[in-house]
């Protein structure tokens, strides 16, 4: 009924790619680029009267910028582009997976059930979330080395060198938990939707509350991912290590 590795595979020189994930993430990126171009063309820097779309976008920008600046204050302004990009990409790709496209009938244990096919969210694939978490991991190391130089590596042997494996384990478990958190929530939402839809004969308005919950989860997970990333950046660039 619902399967983990249920992606369309395409193999190339002993590597295999999940084609549907790649296509949907390209779609999400195109949507974001299109909206950003619209915003760049039509929004004014100094408007006398503010239109409602401009007000909405300003509130949205302030919210996504406040994720970093709320954690580390004014000096977090240079990390706003990276963290906001993560936030916007994860938010759009989570919402992308809530779009129903078609409905099929399926035989499941001798019983005909209905199944609504949703668009494939990029975060429904573990590969995407691991890639995002690796981006966040290397960005944290880069910002830490850029801010503190070689003194950055002192945080791995603080308070003394006996704590080196423990610190390394802590550092490496961060991207893992980020990736698994995002994927687990996307997967849980998809599984709940599939089970809920298969319970009734004609699912049309029935799954709407679960989809509203999915919208909430989409927003919350994007927020948590970027908030945790900015916490990690803060702990890497601050002088005293932790």
């Amino acid at each position: 009924m619902i399967q983990i590795g249920d992606h369309v595979k395409w193999s190339f020189l002993t590597l295999s790619f999940n084609v549907d994930t790649i296509i949907s993430s390209i779609f999400v990126s195109l949507i974001i680029v299109f909206l950003a171009l619209l915003a760049k063309i039509f929004l004014l820097k100094k408007a006398k009267t503010i239109s409602s779309s401009q007000a909405f976008l300003e509130v949205f920008y302030l919210f996504s910028a406040n994720i970093v600046t709320g954690v580390m204050g004014e000096k977090g302004k240079k990390y706003v582009p990276f963290v906001s990009t993560l936030f916007i990409f994860i938010l759009f790709s989570n919402i992308f997976g809530l779009m129903p496209i078609t409905e099929i009938e399926e035989l499941f244990f001798g019983k005909i059930i209905h199944r609504i096919i949703f668009l494939e969210s990029p975060t429904y694939d573990l590969n995407t979330t691991v890639a995002l978490a690796i981006c966040s991991f290397f960005a944290v190391q880069y910002y830490g080395i850029k801010a503190n130089g070689l003194k950055y590596f002192k945080r791995f042997i603080s308070p003394n060198f006996l704590f080196l494996p423990l610190n390394l384990l802590e550092e490496l478990s961060r991207p893992m938990s980020l990736a698994i958190r995002l994927f687990g929530n996307a997967f849980g939402k998809a599984a709940i939707l599939a089970i809920f839809v298969s319970l009734v004969v004609f699912p049309i308005f029935y799954p709407v509350p679960i989809m509203a919950l999915g919208l909430f989860i989409a927003f919350l997970q994007a927020y948590i991912f970027s908030l945790l990333t900015s916490f990690y950046i803060y702990s890497a660039v601050s002088e005293e290590g932790h």
Binding site: I4, G5, G70, S177, R181, G184, F187, Y223, I224, L227
Partner: protein, 83 residues
């Protein structure tokens, strides 16, 4: 016969691992939320920092339940003992 036994055991243990981890995580999240609400009632002006700390704490607690979900997924869909 052996294979079926392994499958049955892995499905049951997947269900139990999620149930126990869900119980513990829900307990911990309830405790965290209740103390955050107490702090909020005592100091309403510290709303922003309390909310931020609460969300981060809840996310970290939730990852325990998600590790159990990962183990359950591996046991059911990609069991290493059933080839």
């Amino acid at each position: 016969m052996d294979k079926i036994l392994i499958q049955v055991v892995s499905v049951v243990s997947a269900a139990f691992s999620l149930a126990i981890a869900g119980f513990a995580a829900a307990n911990a999240q309830g405790k965290a939320t209740s103390s955050a609400l107490e702090a909020l009632a005592r100091q309403p002006e510290a709303k922003n920092s309390i909310t931020q700390a609460l969300i981060v704490g809840l996310a970290i607690i939730e990852s325990i339940a998600l590790y159990a979900l990962l183990i359950a997924i591996v046991l059911i869909f990609a069991n290493p003992f059933v080839k």
